[in-house]
């Protein structure tokens, strides 16, 4: 019987050889961009740095076949794993079936960006890098706030998250993330720790939501940062002198004043839908501006009427008041951005 079985099994290679050998140029049926972590020491290190307590509910995103899941189940109280790939879900479920861990593991098959997240204390994620930004901000908006998230990102993305003012990779993404959370770089992970090896190295970061949260009107903040980082290495004075910026802010200003004064006639004359999104791409990771000047945008319009000139003076006055005119976004701290926005708001100038 055993001998017969062996023959049956070995017959399969013959069948397989009927398939065409690899010819090159054929596109692979790639998985969803995930890379399986090969190095067991890394798995242990990630669990240790996650600081999992025995009472923790752990959200694991992208568990793959569960190498990390097992460690998390041993360390925490419960693991909720979200895995987009149904084949990996099957292996994950089979792996823990019948073990004492099975009643403490919940596997959700689905896209994490489209899944309503449950309560969790700690999040551990190994994700396709293309969802790095939307996932980060989905987590940061999650209520109630978790204690920490330990996430593997492409190295450059990770370095943007942890960048400090003056760093080359400091950008709008940095400020937006650090508004919500403190971010720490934990580990550099060379590409050879994965299969298939990604083209770039990775980093593990720890994200701790700020408690208490910094209160800011999100649309206002976003519109403001888009303008500030429009050219992050130009002075704020030169950015806010641009006709396009002044024009947009002034329309907004008149709308706000009309609302405050209750003059509906004035309101009707003004287009209330401001479009701040034309400044900077959605991800806040626009190409670095290494000092390239666009002189045309800086030309002051000598023919501007008194109202426009008056408003421009108002804007520049705010910058002068806070001593921001000669400063650059690439070197401003989070606190300085918050302060400048509050100065603008006090002057009745808004960004949403």
């Amino acid at each position: 019987m055993a001998g017969g079985k062996v023959k049956k099994e070995k017959g399969k290679p013959h069948q397989q050889q009927k398939h065409m050998p690899y010819q090159g140029g054929i596109s692979f049926h790639k998985s969803k961009g995930q890379h399986i972590l090969k190095n067991p020491l890394l798995v242990d290190s990630i669990v240790e740095k996650a600081g999992v307590k025995s009472t923790d509910v752990i959200l694991e995103i992208g568990p793959g076949t569960g190498n990390l899941t097992k460690k998390l189940l041993e360390a925490g109280k419960k693991v909720i794993a979200i895995e987009i790939d149904p084949r990996m879900v099957l292996e994950l479920q089979r792996r823990f079936q019948g073990t004492p861990h099975s009643n403490r593991l919940t596997v959700i098959q689905g896209d994490v960006l489209k899944t309503e997240l449950p309560y969790f204390d700690i999040c551990v994620a190994n994700i396709p890098y293309q969802i790095s930004s939307p996932l980060t901000f989905k987590l940061l908006k999650h209520e109630p706030a978790f204690r920490a998230a330990i996430i593997m990102f492409q190295r450059e993305f990770a370095m943007r998250l942890v960048a400090q003012p003056g760093d080359k990779l400091y950008c709008r993404l940095t400020v937006n993330t650090q508004l919500h959370a403190r971010v720490f770089h934990l580990l550099k992970v060379g590409r050879n720790n994965f299969r298939p090896p990604p083209k770039v190295d990775s980093s593990v970061v720890r994200i701790e939501p700020r408690k208490p949260r910094i209160e800011v009107k999100q649309k206002e903040w976003d519109g403001f940062l888009r303008i500030c980082f429009n050219r992050k290495n130009k002075t704020l004075g030169s950015i806010f002198r641009q006709k396009s910026v002044i024009s947009l802010l002034e329309k907004n200003y008149r709308t706000v004043r009309a609302l405050e004064l209750g003059q509906e006639d004035s309101l009707k004359e003004v287009d209330a839908k401001m479009d701040f999104s034309s400044f900077g791409d959605d991800q806040g990771m626009e190409m670095d501006d290494d000092g390239a000047d666009d002189d045309e945008m800086e030309v002051e319009d000598g023919e501007a009427d008194e109202v426009q000139s008056e408003f421009k003076d108002k804007v520049l006055g705010v910058l002068k008041e806070g001593d921001f005119e000669e400063k650059r976004s690439s070197k401003l701290t989070l606190q300085e951005f918050l302060y400048l926005l509050s100065l603008f708001n006090k002057a009745g100038i808004h960004f949403s």
């Binding site: 079985k5 070995k10 290679p13 050889q17 050998p21 690899y22 998985s31 399986i36 792996r95």
Partner: protein, 154 residues
């Protein structure tokens, strides 16, 4: 001509296991590297399936030790899953989905750990020496298969 086998095995973790396994297979002289991976995976399937059967054959023990019975059953299931995962990886290779093939072999390699851990949960149970040998055997076969796939062009 075994030069392809030698070249292929040189990139794997266990050269001797790789060479002796592939050399003794009657279809290996005509195989390309992917075919060699399939042969190795087939050997892994045989290994996993036979371990699962071996464990199942030990189930109806005269003793009414339900813990022992439960753990053996769990292990038999795990090795059966390992066989299934390896079967999936053969299909993946046929589809040139090398990343999935790698994933399924990684899964197959870990099912023996799940079995071993099942024994560890009960201090009274001793992990059988012959099962430990089978565990290492399957893991090494999987390592060789993964080493071959690592060097396919993908």
């Amino acid at each position: 001509d075994s030069s392809l086998i030698k070249r292929t095995c040189k990139n794997t973790k266990y050269y001797n296991l790789c060479f002796s396994s592939l050399k003794s297979d009657p279809s290996s002289p005509n195989a390309d590297p992917k075919g060699l991976a399939v042969i190795m995976i087939g050997i892994g399937m045989t290994n996993a399936t036979s371990t699962s059967s071996y464990l199942s054959s030990k189930l109806p023990t005269p003793s009414n030790n339900t813990t022992w019975k439960r753990v053996l059953k769990e292990c038999a299931d795990k090795y059966s899953y390992a066989g299934d995962a390896l079967q999936d990886s053969v299909q993946d290779l046929a589809n040139e989905a090398y990343d999935y093939a790698y994933m399924h072999i990684t899964a197959a390699k870990d099912y023996p750990n799940a079995c071993h851990n099942a024994f560890k949960r009960y201090p009274g149970l001793v992990y059988p020496r012959d099962l430990a040998r089978r565990e290492d055997g399957l893991k090494h076969i999987c390592d060789v298969a993964m080493g071959i796939i690592d060097n396919l062009d993908w």
